[in-house]
Amino acid sequence: MTVNLILFLVLAAACIATALGMLVSRSAIYSALFLVLNFGTVAIFYIILNAPFIAMSQITVYAGAIMVLFIFVIMLLGTDVLPQPQALPWQRPAAIVLAALLIVEAGYLVFFGSATGPTIPQAVESFGSPQDIGGALFNQYLLPFEVTSVLLLIAMVGAIILTQKDKGGR
């Protein structure tokens, strides 16, 4: 057991526990807070995997902006605790069976398939530095980057149009 492995196992346990907490907690606001913790642990995984820029984007975009939006909407609607009437009684067992099938299949592919190599190679010192990411983003991927900005603009306009009240009968 190396230090790396212990670190990975502890973080993975925290990650899975927070994800399960999000799944089972009755209150939507607890789900959101569990999800913030989960995003934090995944950000630490990104740092371990030589992706500091992605880790910081994860913290600011996911754990910051997106989750604040979620919590804002939960508080706006005031429906954080909902009764859960099941329309289909067989839905929950069926979902659990399907999820078990998915995890068994994925586990088989991950640990017995030939898609992945066994170990992580030693990286170059500056691999995944923000300079590299910026260079790739603004040279090789400039067009997708610009398209992304247009997409964000469309999303912003769409959100405003969807949530505005009807004025004078549309």
Partner: protein, 100 residues
């Protein structure tokens, strides 16, 4: 270093929990959060593969996934707010008509 399979396995577990959340929960906000969890799991797999193959493109792709997720959340939450205004409930079982 930890073998890459561990990261991919963790990603698979997180993805499964997200899929289970979409199938089981009835609150659309929690369903949205489960979708975010699935996107996050795939991002983790992408970053792990980036590290293994020593090419940067995976991280760029993760960046784009994050932006698209942000746009999706903004529009999706606006939709939920609009549905709540017309139906005064956000139970997913009551969203069974296209007209508000």
């Amino acid at each position: 270093m930890v073998p890459i399979n561990f990261y991919i396995g963790l990603s698979a577990i997180l993805f499964t929990i997200g899929a289970l959340g979409v199938l089981v929960r009835r609150n659309p906000l929690v369903i949205f959060m489960s979708v975010e969890l699935m996107l996050n799991a795939s991002n983790l797999a992408l970053v792990a593969f980036t590290r293994v193959h020593n090419v940067l493109d995976g991280q760029i792709f993760v960046f784009f996934v994050m932006t698209v997720a942000a746009a999706e959340v903004a529009v999706g939450l606006a939709l939920i707010v609009t549905i709540f205004r017309t139906k005064h409930s956000i139970n997913i079982d009551e969203m069974n008509s296209l007209k508000g």
